[in-house]
């Protein structure tokens, strides 16, 4: 890669890359994002490479195909994913054994392998093209859609897709003020959670009186159940860098940082490579593209602390200190890293910047709702058929996301709630599924957009347990600096734990509400300030469940272990021995032709028997809030031929 010194050189170089590429030559793109890797994508890549070599030798014709290892396109549920260009044939759940057929059938003979295609609700409905699959079709994939088209480790792939064009436009055709105005006009709001207008934030930092300024990418995506920033940084790191460069130019910063959590090793790796490539080719360093603008980027790894996603805590961590938040104001825009004005935006916010510069503010504002423009990436997970990453225009309804894109709830179960915004967010019940998803509408129903986690819950999810789960997470992650957060969360967790154990008292719900309000109002940073949200929103919509726990000692979803028991229905048990063998506590008594009985003393309520009991028998009953019937007497347990029928 040569050093590029001017826009003209860049365009020439881009042309060179494109001229070497034959758009008709097949390209097999395999997702090697973390999700697909976990499903064995690297073995698939190896098998395909092997097959290309092997079949090339056998048939004596050179197998013409490129292999591209890409970032995550989103459909994690059906990984490992594979797309063959230029036809855009999409194969799902590809295994190494399929490689032979993919090469011989699709690449050499030009046929589609039916069994690897997406199958619609009707079994004979096969979909060939990626963009026609309902999961993708109902999305608007402006950012994440690029992932499958490039190898994140190749700057040439990024340039071939038009990369760094926005940088040229910003640096060489606009003044910093014009860039800033454009971002303000696009009404881009921060994607990290709070939704603060990015242009305004940039302006504050720009207007701060100081020679030295910094810009920071917040890639400390700590929300459990959210991984869109990882997918962007892992799958298209140059787009984040390009956004950061443009922002730095508008703000007047010459140094930037990418703060990424060490739990994302692949994101660290790809971002590091991208920075090196950008330095070598002159997109970073001195006099970028001959514009006179200097900029350098450093990568900093987080060491495992959720609170470091909060901007003041993140800055402390960048300085090599424990990530404890500071009082705001002064805001980082005035006094940030090492006391200098600092602008921090989330990965997705930065990744939106090149798009805005390239396509203009009007394009961006044409998507979305009145006050929330553009698209948003969500990680749609939990009890939903099509889990994965989805990018949708702001203003789409929750129902469309969960049912049209997500394909509804698996196993014919009933929808209960959707949790957005991670530990700072709330649970939204069925009655609000028609609300339009944007920053303000979600806040109205007691949830938040957050960074984009969207966890679907079905009837088997206990809302007291969910609230307890988040507080448990937050007590662990509270840095302990301020008392309202440290103690408030801990005390609320104590009450919730009691409720889940059947030791709840009357008045507990009211006490929870009172403490939630104090914690929210008195905490130093957003972690404590939003920590009560999961509690308040579950009480708001599912108070009945709390009351069932407290008053009847009953967990309606059969989750809280101390309130449930398992019982084998003697009428239904066929003595098949499956549960008896699988029980980890050896709590099931029985034998061949002996109706099984659970020893309640030994039973740990793990639920294994309930899961393994064949559905045609469905002999295990879950009980809550009622006594367990006594076991049938030993002499009646033998199954004689006739009674089995």
């Amino acid at each position: 890669m040569p050093r590029i010194n001017s826009p003209a050189e860049l365009e020439k170089f881009r042309k060179d890359i494109l001229s070497k590429r034959d758009p008709k030559k097949p390209c097999i793109a395999v997702c090697t994002g973390t999700g697909c890797l976990a499903l064995g994508a690297s073995k698939v890549v190896a098998a395909i490479k092997e097959e290309i070599k092997k079949q090339g030798l056998e048939s004596k014709v050179k197998v013409e195909a490129d292999i591209r290892e890409t970032g995550c396109p989103g459909f994690c549920e059906r990984g490992p994913l594979l797309v063959i260009y230029p036809e855009e044939i999409c194969y799902l759940q590809v295994q190494p054994e399929d490689a032979k057929e993919i090469i011989s059938q699709t690449i050499l003979a030009g046929n589609v392998v039916d069994r690897l295609l997406y199958t619609g609700p009707k079994p004979d409905e096969k979909i060939v093209q990626e963009s026609e699959i309902p999961f993708y079709k109902n999305q608007k994939r402006l950012l994440i859609g690029n992932n499958i088209r490039m190898d994140p480790k190749s700057i040439e792939d990024y340039l071939a897709a038009g990369g760094y064009r926005a940088l040229v436009k910003a640096l060489c055709e606009n003044t910093p003020e014009q860039v800033l105005e454009l971002v303000k006009k696009a009404e881009l709001r921060g994607r990290g959670g709070a939704g603060f207008p990015a242009g305004k934030k940039w302006e504050f930092t720009r207007n701060s009186q100081d020679e030295t300024k910094y810009v920071v990418v917040n890639a400390d995506e700590g929300d459990p159940g959210a991984f869109m920033d990882r997918a962007l940084l892992e799958g298209n790191p140059h787009s984040v860098l390009e956004g950061l460069l443009i922002g730095a130019y508008a703000i007047g910063a010459n140094e930037g940082f990418i703060y990424v959590r060490q739990e994302y090793p692949l994101a660290v790796e790809n971002a590091t490579i991208a920075i090196r490539q950008a330095e070598e080719s002159g997109f970073l360093g001195k006099n970028i593209l001959g514009s006179g603008f200097d900029f350098n980027v450093h990568l900093h790894q987080g060491a495992g602390a959720f609170v470091c996603g909060e901007e003041t805590a993140l800055l402390m961590s960048l300085e090599g200190k424990p990530g404890e938040p500071n009082q705001k104001p002064p805001y980082p825009a005035v006094k940030g890293l090492w006391g200098k004005p600092t602008n921090i935006n989330n990965v997705e916010t930065w990744a939106n910047v090149p798009l805005i510069i390239n396509k203009g503010a009007e394009f961006f504002t044409s998507i979305g709702t009145e006050k929330s423009k553009g698209t948003k990436i969500f990680s749609l997970v939990g009890k939903v058929n099509n889990t994965g990453l989805v990018e949708v225009p702001m203003g789409i309804t929750l129902k469309d996301i969960i049912y049209e894109i997500g394909g509804g709830i698996p196993g014919g179960k009933k929808f209960k709630a959707v949790q957005t915004g991670g530990p700072s967010g709330g649970c939204i019940p069925e009655e609000h599924l028609d609300i339009k998803v944007d920053f303000d509408e979600l806040a109205k129903v007691g949830a938040i957009m957050g960074s984009g986690g969207m966890i679907v819950m079905d009837e088997d999810t206990c809302m007291v347990d969910v609230a307890k789960y988040f507080l448990n997470f937050l007590t662990d992650e509270s840095c302990g600096k301020c008392a309202p957060c440290r103690e408030g969360i801990r005390q609320m967790l104590k009450i919730l734990t009691n409720i889940s154990k059947g030791k709840g008292k009357e008045g507990d719900v009211e006490l929870l509400q009172e403490m939630a309000e104090i914690t929210r109002d008195a905490s130093l940073c957003a972690l404590g300030g939003s920590a009560p949200n999961p509690v308040l929103s579950t009480i708001r919509y599912f108070r009945g469940e709390y009351e069932a726990h407290i008053n009847e000692g009953k967990c309606p979803a059969f989750v809280c272990k101390d309130l449930i028991s398992f019982y084998i229905d003697p009428e239904k048990c066929t003595a098949c021995m499956i549960c008896l063998r699988k029980c980890p506590a050896d709590a099931i008594i029985g034998g061949k032709k002996q109706i099984h009985v659970i020893d309640q003393e030994k039973c740990t309520n793990c639920g294994t028997c309930y899961e393994v009991c064949p559905t045609r028998f469905a002999a295990i009953r879950r009980l809550s809030g009622e006594p367990v019937p006594p076991p049938i007497p030993e002499e009646e347990r033998t199954i004689v031929g006739a009674s089995k029928k």
Partner: protein
């Protein structure tokens, strides 16, 4: 881990105390825990108070002040895994190994940790052993996985 190795890592970061976390992370990654002697060496080289290093290594989860077992088990307790049954998976892993999260067994065979989210939400519940991902783990399946490690 000898002093030369530690010095090499510190030199890579230009002896800069603001890179303390990055330095400790690299040492942790290579040595897998931070013995007292190592921390002492870092303190000496960087000339920072011991209390600051202690604050950092106890604040951030990535650091361990006790030796790790030969195999590190991470059970994901992210929200998606949680609603899909991670607590029961964790129970069964605890039963099988006899240790709780944060602990290492006496034979230094297994260390157990929980992790906030590994980002494989589609595969939940997820267990990671020595970097190898095991998805859709039913509690009963965990025994079959762990038996292969010695």
């Amino acid at each position: 881990m000898d002093n030369d190795q530690i010095d090499r890592i510190i030199d890579k970061h230009q002896n800069d105390a603001s890179s303390l976390i990055q330095i400790l992370l690299e040492i942790q990654r290579e040595h897998r825990w931070l013995p007292k002697a190592v921390i002492e060496r870092v303190r000496e080289k960087l000339d920072v108070p011991l209390s600051r290093i202690q604050h950092i290594v106890t604040f951030y989860k990535a650091f361990s002040l006790i030796p790790k077992g030969r195999h590190e088990i991470h059970v994901c307790t992210g929200t998606a895994c949680h609603v899909r049954g991670a607590p029961r998976l964790l129970d069964s892993v605890q039963d099988l190994t006899g240790i709780k999260p944060g602990e290492t067994d006496m034979d230094l065979k297994f260390s157990l940790e929980t992790v906030g989210c590994v980002g494989c939400c589609a595969l939940g519940p997820v267990m990671v052993v020595d970097g190898e991902y095991y998805g859709k783990m039913a509690p009963a399946k965990s025994e079959k996985v762990l038996i292969n490690y010695d």
